[in-house]
Symmetry: C2
Subunit: 125 residues, 2 copies
DNA sequence: CTAAACTCTCACGTCGGTGTGAGAGTCAAG
DNA sequence: CTTGACTCTCACACCGACGTGAGAGTTTAG
């Protein structure tokens, strides 16, 4: 499919898709005239990119990771290290967010008449 | 204390502190010559700002929140709504991060010889 | 009293992920 | 063949939380 269709099916802008390619996270084929051609599997790939972006990973890193996982690189060990580092960072972020949520609860408590159970503690807990 | 000392004691740059004031999150007094004067309690306030920033709240919002909690505004209900909205957003972010961490685990699994317990599942769980 | 250290207020630079044209080529339908 | 919808490649604009001087006044130590 061409870039417009991929944009429609993923909800990601055409501009963003071109940017992902620029960073090495997508590797579309090209028609003789230069049009990018994506396979259906790229839809999931784009979803992964979105997920990783939302988690705070930079596009440079995402590009390297996806390239590496595509077997484009022999630096598997290096790649694994980066992934594990990001995993740790995410876990830290989670802990930090949990802590911040408590702070917000404290702040809320100061503006509210005390007592009042707990409004569904995330999916974790 | 003057701004330099506050910077030293909080680990936040002088520039950032001025920026926090600009956004209404800090309200230092001024000497006749214009120097900002902070009280010791501002140290904790700065820590709170850092925490909220790290959680993804924007400075504009943080400024409003802290101003409101200082009793500067009568819009308590409005303020509470914002706080609760951010609380919900943070909970969403946490869930999202947990999901992303699973994705990373999947990716890691594809680069590793299978099996291998679990490396300390955050402080939650 | 002087020099060093600090502080003040502009105001422009940075970085990352996109938006937004500009100008030009390409493809499908009538 | 023409029109309109897509696509291409530059390349500048944007936002948010600062960094980084510039130029000028203030305070402190010797």
């Amino acid at each position: 499919m061409k870039i417009g269709e991929l944009a429609d099916r993923t909800g990601v802008s055409v501009r963003a898709l071109r940017y992902y390619e620029e960073k090495g996270a997508l590797r579309p084929d090209r028609t003789p005239s230069g049009y990018r051609i994506f396979s259906d599997s790229e839809i999931r790939r784009v979803a992964h990119i979105q997920t990783l972006l939302a988690a705070g990973l930079g596009m440079d890193l995402i590009g390297e990771i996806l390239a590496c996982l595509s077997g484009e690189s022999l630096l598997l060990d290096d790649c694994r290290e980066r992934l594990e580092a990001e995993r740790r960072r995410i876990t830290n972020d989670i802990d930090q967010l949990v802590h911040t949520r408590s702070l917000l609860d404290d702040l809320l408590a100061t503006t509210r008449a005390p007592a009042q159970p707990n409004p569904v503690e995330s999916s974790i807990a």
